[in-house]
Protein backbone atom coordinates (compact mmCIF):
# COMPACT_ATOMS: atom_id res chain seq x y z
CA UNK A 1 0.00 0.00 0.00
CA UNK A 2 2.80 2.29 -0.92
CA UNK A 3 0.69 4.78 -2.79
CA UNK A 4 -2.00 4.88 -0.15
CA UNK A 5 0.15 7.02 2.09
CA UNK A 6 0.37 9.67 -0.62
CA UNK A 7 -3.35 9.85 -0.93
CA UNK A 8 -5.00 13.07 0.22
CA UNK A 9 -7.40 12.53 3.04
CA UNK A 10 -10.48 13.51 1.07
CA UNK A 11 -9.58 10.96 -1.56
CA UNK A 12 -9.00 8.29 1.03
CA UNK A 13 -12.38 8.97 2.53
CA UNK A 14 -14.08 9.00 -0.83
CA UNK A 15 -12.39 5.81 -1.92
CA UNK A 16 -13.22 4.11 1.34
CA UNK A 17 -16.81 5.23 1.22
CA UNK A 18 -17.39 3.97 -2.29
CA UNK A 19 -15.55 0.77 -1.51
CA UNK A 20 -17.66 0.11 1.54
CA UNK A 21 -20.81 1.03 -0.29
CA UNK A 22 -20.05 -1.30 -3.15
CA UNK A 23 -18.98 -4.18 -0.94
CA UNK A 24 -21.94 -3.74 1.34
CA UNK A 25 -24.34 -3.77 -1.58
CA UNK A 26 -22.72 -6.87 -2.97
CA UNK A 27 -22.95 -8.52 0.42
CA UNK A 28 -26.57 -7.54 0.90
CA UNK A 29 -27.29 -8.84 -2.57
CA UNK A 30 -25.93 -12.23 -1.67
CA UNK A 31 -27.73 -12.17 1.63
CA UNK A 32 -30.85 -11.67 -0.40
CA UNK A 33 -29.78 -14.53 -2.58
CA UNK A 34 -29.71 -16.81 0.40
CA UNK A 35 -32.73 -15.46 2.21
CA UNK A 36 -35.35 -14.75 -0.42
CA UNK A 37 -37.93 -17.47 -0.79
CA UNK A 38 -38.51 -18.24 -4.44
CA UNK A 39 -36.18 -18.37 -7.36
CA UNK A 40 -37.91 -15.42 -9.01
CA UNK A 41 -37.38 -13.31 -5.93
CA UNK A 42 -33.78 -14.36 -5.63
CA UNK A 43 -33.31 -13.28 -9.19
CA UNK A 44 -33.42 -9.68 -8.03
CA UNK A 45 -30.80 -9.96 -5.38
CA UNK A 46 -27.61 -10.12 -7.44
CA UNK A 47 -28.52 -6.97 -9.30
CA UNK A 48 -27.58 -5.05 -6.20
CA UNK A 49 -24.06 -6.25 -6.70
CA UNK A 50 -24.07 -5.69 -10.40
CA UNK A 51 -25.55 -2.25 -10.30
CA UNK A 52 -24.37 -0.05 -7.49
CA UNK A 53 -22.27 -2.73 -5.92
CA UNK A 54 -20.07 -2.71 -8.95
CA UNK A 55 -20.57 0.98 -9.34
CA UNK A 56 -19.25 1.68 -5.89
CA UNK A 57 -16.14 -0.36 -6.23
CA UNK A 58 -15.50 0.96 -9.72
CA UNK A 59 -15.87 4.51 -8.49
CA UNK A 60 -13.50 3.79 -5.61
CA UNK A 61 -10.96 2.36 -7.98
CA UNK A 62 -11.29 5.24 -10.41
CA UNK A 63 -10.86 7.88 -7.79
CA UNK A 64 -7.96 6.04 -6.27
CA UNK A 65 -6.01 5.63 -9.48
CA UNK A 66 -6.88 9.02 -10.83
CA UNK A 67 -5.43 10.56 -7.71
CA UNK A 68 -2.39 8.30 -7.37
CA UNK A 69 -1.44 8.40 -11.02
CA UNK A 70 -2.32 12.04 -11.35
CA UNK A 71 -4.17 11.48 -14.58
CA UNK A 72 -7.77 10.60 -15.35
CA UNK A 73 -8.29 6.83 -15.26
CA UNK A 74 -11.42 5.63 -16.98
CA UNK A 75 -10.81 2.01 -17.66
CA UNK A 76 -12.88 0.87 -14.70
CA UNK A 77 -15.90 2.44 -16.36
CA UNK A 78 -15.63 -0.30 -18.93
CA UNK A 79 -16.19 -2.86 -16.22
CA UNK A 80 -19.27 -1.01 -15.14
CA UNK A 81 -20.59 -0.88 -18.69
CA UNK A 82 -19.86 -4.51 -19.44
CA UNK A 83 -21.40 -5.73 -16.23
CA UNK A 84 -24.47 -3.62 -16.82
CA UNK A 85 -24.88 -4.97 -20.30
CA UNK A 86 -24.10 -8.62 -19.66
CA UNK A 87 -25.81 -9.30 -16.35
CA UNK A 88 -29.32 -8.74 -17.73
CA UNK A 89 -28.58 -11.23 -20.46
CA UNK A 90 -27.62 -13.82 -17.92
CA UNK A 91 -30.53 -13.15 -15.68
CA UNK A 92 -33.19 -13.09 -18.35
CA UNK A 93 -31.92 -16.29 -19.93
CA UNK A 94 -31.85 -17.96 -16.58
CA UNK A 95 -35.23 -16.67 -15.56
CA UNK A 96 -36.82 -17.79 -18.77
CA UNK A 97 -35.23 -21.20 -18.44
CA UNK A 98 -36.69 -21.46 -14.98
CA UNK A 99 -40.01 -20.31 -16.25
CA UNK A 100 -40.13 -22.93 -18.93
CA UNK A 101 -39.12 -25.64 -16.52
CA UNK A 102 -41.76 -24.59 -14.09
CA UNK A 103 -44.36 -24.54 -16.80
CA UNK A 104 -43.28 -27.92 -18.09
CA UNK A 105 -43.78 -29.20 -14.56
CA UNK A 106 -47.06 -27.30 -14.35
CA UNK A 107 -45.97 -25.34 -11.34
CA UNK A 108 -48.96 -23.19 -10.29
CA UNK A 109 -46.70 -20.42 -8.98
CA UNK A 110 -45.81 -19.23 -12.45
CA UNK A 111 -48.04 -17.83 -15.18
CA UNK A 112 -49.01 -20.55 -17.66
CA UNK A 113 -48.06 -20.67 -21.30
CA UNK A 114 -49.50 -17.74 -23.14
CA UNK A 115 -52.23 -19.06 -25.37
CA UNK A 116 -53.94 -16.01 -26.73
CA UNK A 117 -52.31 -13.52 -28.97
CA UNK A 118 -52.71 -11.07 -31.73
CA UNK A 119 -51.43 -11.44 -35.19
CA UNK A 120 -48.35 -9.44 -34.87
CA UNK A 121 -45.76 -9.35 -37.52
CA UNK A 122 -42.76 -11.37 -36.63
CA UNK A 123 -39.59 -9.53 -36.13
CA UNK A 124 -37.32 -12.45 -36.05
CA UNK A 125 -33.87 -12.01 -34.60
CA UNK A 126 -30.82 -13.83 -35.76
CA UNK A 127 -31.65 -17.04 -34.07
CA UNK A 128 -32.96 -19.20 -36.84
CA UNK A 129 -32.34 -22.50 -35.25
Amino acid sequence: MSQAADLPLWAAIAVSAFLLLGSALALIGTIGLTRLQSFYERLHAPTLGTSWGTGGVVMASMIFFTVTEARPVFQEILIGIFVTVTTPVTLMLLAQAALHRDRAEANPEVPPWATAGTDLEKDAPGAVD
Binding site: L25, I28, G29, I31, G32, R35, L36, S38, Y40, E41, L43, H44, A45, T47, L48, T50, S51, W52, P72, F74, Q75, I77, L78, T84, V85, T87, P88, L91, M92, A95, Q96, L99, V110, P111, A114, A116, G117, T118, L120, E121, K122, D123, A124, P125, G126
Partner: protein
Protein backbone atom coordinates in the same frame (compact mmCIF):
# COMPACT_ATOMS: atom_id res chain seq x y z
CA UNK B 1 -19.37 -3.11 -47.50
CA UNK B 2 -18.42 0.35 -46.49
CA UNK B 3 -15.18 1.09 -44.70
CA UNK B 4 -16.96 2.27 -41.59
CA UNK B 5 -20.18 0.29 -41.39
CA UNK B 6 -20.91 1.26 -37.80
CA UNK B 7 -19.50 4.69 -37.07
CA UNK B 8 -20.97 4.93 -33.58
CA UNK B 9 -19.69 1.51 -32.72
CA UNK B 10 -16.29 2.35 -34.13
CA UNK B 11 -16.15 5.49 -32.10
CA UNK B 12 -17.07 3.58 -28.96
CA UNK B 13 -14.38 1.04 -29.69
CA UNK B 14 -11.79 3.78 -30.14
CA UNK B 15 -12.84 5.22 -26.82
CA UNK B 16 -12.66 1.80 -25.26
CA UNK B 17 -9.18 1.30 -26.68
CA UNK B 18 -8.01 4.58 -25.34
CA UNK B 19 -9.58 3.93 -21.96
CA UNK B 20 -7.78 0.65 -21.83
CA UNK B 21 -4.44 2.11 -22.86
CA UNK B 22 -4.14 5.83 -22.66
CA UNK B 23 -5.57 8.92 -24.19
CA UNK B 24 -2.76 9.72 -26.58
CA UNK B 25 -2.74 10.51 -30.26
CA UNK B 26 -0.82 7.34 -30.92
CA UNK B 27 -3.46 5.22 -29.33
CA UNK B 28 -6.13 7.19 -31.10
CA UNK B 29 -4.59 6.14 -34.38
CA UNK B 30 -3.92 2.57 -33.34
CA UNK B 31 -7.35 2.37 -31.78
CA UNK B 32 -8.97 3.63 -34.96
CA UNK B 33 -7.30 0.94 -36.99
CA UNK B 34 -8.33 -1.75 -34.55
CA UNK B 35 -11.84 -0.40 -34.21
CA UNK B 36 -12.23 -0.42 -37.97
CA UNK B 37 -11.17 -4.05 -38.09
CA UNK B 38 -13.48 -4.95 -35.26
CA UNK B 39 -16.42 -3.20 -36.87
CA UNK B 40 -15.81 -5.22 -40.01
CA UNK B 41 -16.15 -8.23 -37.81
CA UNK B 42 -19.46 -6.84 -36.66
CA UNK B 43 -20.54 -6.26 -40.23
CA UNK B 44 -19.81 -9.89 -41.03
CA UNK B 45 -22.52 -10.85 -38.56
CA UNK B 46 -25.06 -8.85 -40.56
CA UNK B 47 -26.95 -7.77 -37.45
CA UNK B 48 -30.18 -5.92 -37.38
CA UNK B 49 -29.17 -2.29 -37.87
CA UNK B 50 -30.91 0.20 -35.58
CA UNK B 51 -31.94 3.60 -36.79
CA UNK B 52 -31.43 6.15 -34.10
CA UNK B 53 -33.54 9.11 -34.97
CA UNK B 54 -33.29 11.24 -31.88
CA UNK B 55 -30.04 10.32 -30.30
CA UNK B 56 -29.97 13.45 -28.16
CA UNK B 57 -32.55 11.75 -25.93
CA UNK B 58 -30.06 9.02 -25.06
CA UNK B 59 -28.30 10.93 -22.27
CA UNK B 60 -31.67 11.72 -20.83
CA UNK B 61 -32.56 8.05 -20.84
CA UNK B 62 -29.31 7.14 -19.18
CA UNK B 63 -29.92 9.77 -16.58
CA UNK B 64 -33.34 8.60 -15.56
CA UNK B 65 -32.19 5.00 -15.52
CA UNK B 66 -29.31 5.83 -13.20
CA UNK B 67 -31.65 7.59 -10.84
CA UNK B 68 -34.10 4.71 -10.95
CA UNK B 69 -31.37 2.27 -10.21
CA UNK B 70 -30.29 4.22 -7.15
CA UNK B 71 -33.86 4.33 -5.97
CA UNK B 72 -34.54 0.71 -6.49
CA UNK B 73 -31.24 -0.21 -4.87
CA UNK B 74 -32.41 1.42 -1.74
CA UNK B 75 -35.78 -0.26 -2.04
CA UNK B 76 -34.39 -3.70 -2.52
CA UNK B 77 -31.82 -3.28 0.24
CA UNK B 78 -34.54 -2.38 2.61
CA UNK B 79 -36.55 -5.40 1.58
CA UNK B 80 -33.63 -7.76 2.07
CA UNK B 81 -32.48 -6.21 5.31
CA UNK B 82 -36.00 -6.17 6.65
CA UNK B 83 -36.13 -9.84 5.82
CA UNK B 84 -39.16 -11.85 6.71
CA UNK B 85 -40.45 -9.35 9.14
CA UNK B 86 -41.97 -7.42 6.34
CA UNK B 87 -43.39 -9.91 3.89
CA UNK B 88 -42.98 -8.46 0.47
CA UNK B 89 -45.42 -9.16 -2.28
CA UNK B 90 -43.59 -10.29 -5.30
CA UNK B 91 -45.30 -11.33 -8.47
CA UNK B 92 -45.50 -11.59 -12.20
CA UNK B 93 -46.74 -8.85 -14.42
CA UNK B 94 -47.69 -8.95 -18.07
CA UNK B 95 -47.26 -5.82 -20.11
CA UNK B 96 -48.17 -5.28 -23.72
CA UNK B 97 -45.37 -3.58 -25.57
CA UNK B 98 -45.66 -1.51 -28.69
CA UNK B 99 -41.95 -1.34 -29.13
CA UNK B 100 -40.76 -3.46 -32.06
CA UNK B 101 -37.21 -2.44 -32.71
CA UNK B 102 -34.91 -5.22 -31.65
CA UNK B 103 -32.19 -2.95 -30.35
CA UNK B 104 -34.67 -0.86 -28.48
CA UNK B 105 -36.13 -3.99 -26.93
CA UNK B 106 -32.66 -5.05 -25.91
CA UNK B 107 -32.05 -1.72 -24.26
CA UNK B 108 -35.37 -1.93 -22.49
CA UNK B 109 -34.52 -5.42 -21.31
CA UNK B 110 -31.20 -4.26 -19.99
CA UNK B 111 -32.84 -1.36 -18.18
CA UNK B 112 -35.55 -3.47 -16.64
CA UNK B 113 -33.23 -6.18 -15.53
CA UNK B 114 -30.43 -3.95 -14.33
CA UNK B 115 -32.81 -2.20 -12.08
CA UNK B 116 -33.02 -4.12 -8.85
CA UNK B 117 -36.53 -5.19 -8.14
CA UNK B 118 -37.64 -5.85 -11.68
CA UNK B 119 -36.64 -8.72 -13.92
CA UNK B 120 -37.38 -9.26 -17.58
CA UNK B 121 -38.65 -12.77 -17.96
CA UNK B 122 -40.19 -13.45 -21.29
CA UNK B 123 -41.06 -11.49 -24.39
CA UNK B 124 -43.53 -13.03 -26.77
CA UNK B 125 -42.85 -11.64 -30.20
CA UNK B 126 -46.03 -13.08 -31.67
CA UNK B 127 -48.27 -10.82 -29.58
CA UNK B 128 -45.83 -8.31 -28.16
CA UNK B 129 -46.42 -9.24 -24.54
CA UNK B 130 -43.74 -8.98 -21.95
CA UNK B 131 -43.68 -10.89 -18.72
CA UNK B 132 -41.73 -9.32 -15.91
CA UNK B 133 -41.25 -10.24 -12.32
CA UNK B 134 -41.40 -7.59 -9.68
CA UNK B 135 -40.05 -8.02 -6.20
CA UNK B 136 -42.33 -5.53 -4.57
CA UNK B 137 -45.56 -5.71 -6.48
CA UNK B 138 -47.81 -3.45 -4.49
CA UNK B 139 -49.39 -1.65 -7.35
CA UNK B 140 -49.34 -3.34 -10.74
CA UNK B 141 -50.28 -0.20 -12.59
CA UNK B 142 -47.37 1.72 -11.14
CA UNK B 143 -44.96 -0.79 -12.61
CA UNK B 144 -46.76 -0.93 -15.91
CA UNK B 145 -46.59 2.82 -16.11
CA UNK B 146 -42.92 2.74 -15.29
CA UNK B 147 -42.17 0.47 -18.17
CA UNK B 148 -44.68 1.84 -20.63
CA UNK B 149 -44.46 5.53 -20.00
CA UNK B 150 -41.07 6.10 -18.55
CA UNK B 151 -38.98 3.79 -20.71
CA UNK B 152 -40.90 2.50 -23.68
CA UNK B 153 -42.13 5.88 -24.80
CA UNK B 154 -38.67 7.34 -24.64
CA UNK B 155 -37.20 4.42 -26.51
CA UNK B 156 -39.84 4.66 -29.19
CA UNK B 157 -38.99 8.27 -29.60
CA UNK B 158 -35.34 7.48 -30.00
CA UNK B 159 -35.70 4.53 -32.32
CA UNK B 160 -38.94 4.72 -34.19
Amino acid sequence: MSVLPYPLLSLSLVLMWMALNSFTIGHLLLGSVIATFASWGMAALRPHKPHIRRWHLLPYLIGIVLIDIVRSNIAVVSIIVAGRRQRQRSGFLTIHLDLKDQTALAILAVIVTSTPGTAWLEYNSSNGTLLIHVLDLVDEQEWTDLVKNRYERLLMEIFE
